[in-house]
Symmetry: C2
């Protein structure tokens, strides 16, 4: 039986997270209490730590994830700008389909929509073939990471697009839902990843037309 | 492309969750704002919906999960009783090992500790062989369910015991950590599940001795 006590080196993480929370609390003054922001930072960290393989950048990813969730929550309560449609892509792992769709829509919409993505069971990292296939069309996914689906981002969305995650996506009234049938690029070859990428791009262009934002 | 709009039947879930939040807000008056409680209820629902297969009882499970998380958070901030040691068991799926350990410790401790369990990647349901093996020692797991690991329950714990979840468990200073090496009862036969159960029970009795609460 291994018994560890104290682990003083890890005091650092706690300290870093509190610093992140303090910074974010400043950004959300008058919208959320410092306690709410700190809760979001700590829960976001734990949620990412549950699945992320490489934990070196976890505090930095936590800062981005928590900031985005708080922004979504502020939008949902009318306390942050919501000038363009919010589109949320949800797949199982947030490591392939939803990441490709988000980045392709983001580029094609050029500011006319805001895009988020999440997974019902996030993977450890984005699939390498997906990263490679997107790099071929000059989209860099190096800064992206799989994130669990949270209530706040669903609540902030105007359009929710699911891809193979079945019933795992909570459904709220008043939103537009679509389900795209796509192959899964997990363990795909680069050729398969390219084909899925182009298929997703067709759907993205169709979506822009439906949203009356012609590509 | 399937397009669904409105889904009026699901208005019900939103309404049920708001009712749960109102009830819980009453229980935590003076400790948490109604907004914090509502956030916990909605995020707890989404977290369970991500992985749960059977969604019929999801609002009822959400109410229990959110209440327990809020209690943990209140304990961590000194606003709820913390009279006995809090022990948290963490495995990957919260569907076998950590459920068995929690229920065995709960029975042996007979009120001298408080026990929680969670998983880094929760399964859809508790493994059938585990339910059967526990039923043989008169422990009914019918009311239990796999829950994701959250910051609040780690924060409230005095003792964190991990079982095969590797680095997924966030570590806080000042706690006692143990890692138990156990076989995984996923897909186990009833004979294997019994052996794992008895092995866990040995660890549980040892833990009670270490905590100076002899079995």
């Amino acid at each position: 039986m291994r018994v560890q006590r104290g682990m003083p080196g890890l005091l650092d993480t706690d300290h870093v997270l509190r610093t992140i929370a303090r910074d974010l609390a400043g950004r959300f003054t008058g919208v959320f209490t410092p306690e709410t922001v700190e809760r979001y930072v700590f829960e976001s960290y734990t949620a990412l730590a549950r699945t992320a393989k490489v934990t070196t950048h976890l505090p930095a990813l936590t800062a981005r994830f928590a900031a985005d969730r708080l922004t979504a929550l502020a939008q949902a309560k009318g306390a942050a700008p919501h000038d363009v449609p919010e589109v949320l892509f949800v797949c199982v792992q947030n490591a392939g389909r939803s990441q490709m769709a988000a980045s392709l829509l983001n580029r094609r919409a050029a500011g006319r929509v805001h895009v988020r993505s999440a997974g019902s069971a996030p993977a450890e990292a984005i699939h390498p073939a997906v990263v490679a296939a997107m790099a071929e069309v000059d989209i860099d996914l190096a800064e992206e990471f799989p994130k669990p689906l949270t209530d706040d981002v669903v609540r902030a969305a105007d359009v929710v697009i699911t891809m193979g995650c079945g019933d795992a996506c909570p459904i709220y009234p008043g939103k537009r839902y679509e389900d795209w049938t796509l192959d899964d690029p997990a363990d795909a070859s680069i050729e398969e990843a390219r084909r899925i990428r182009d298929n997703i791009d067709d759907h993205v262009r169709e979506l822009l037309t439906e949203l009356e934002l012609s590509p």
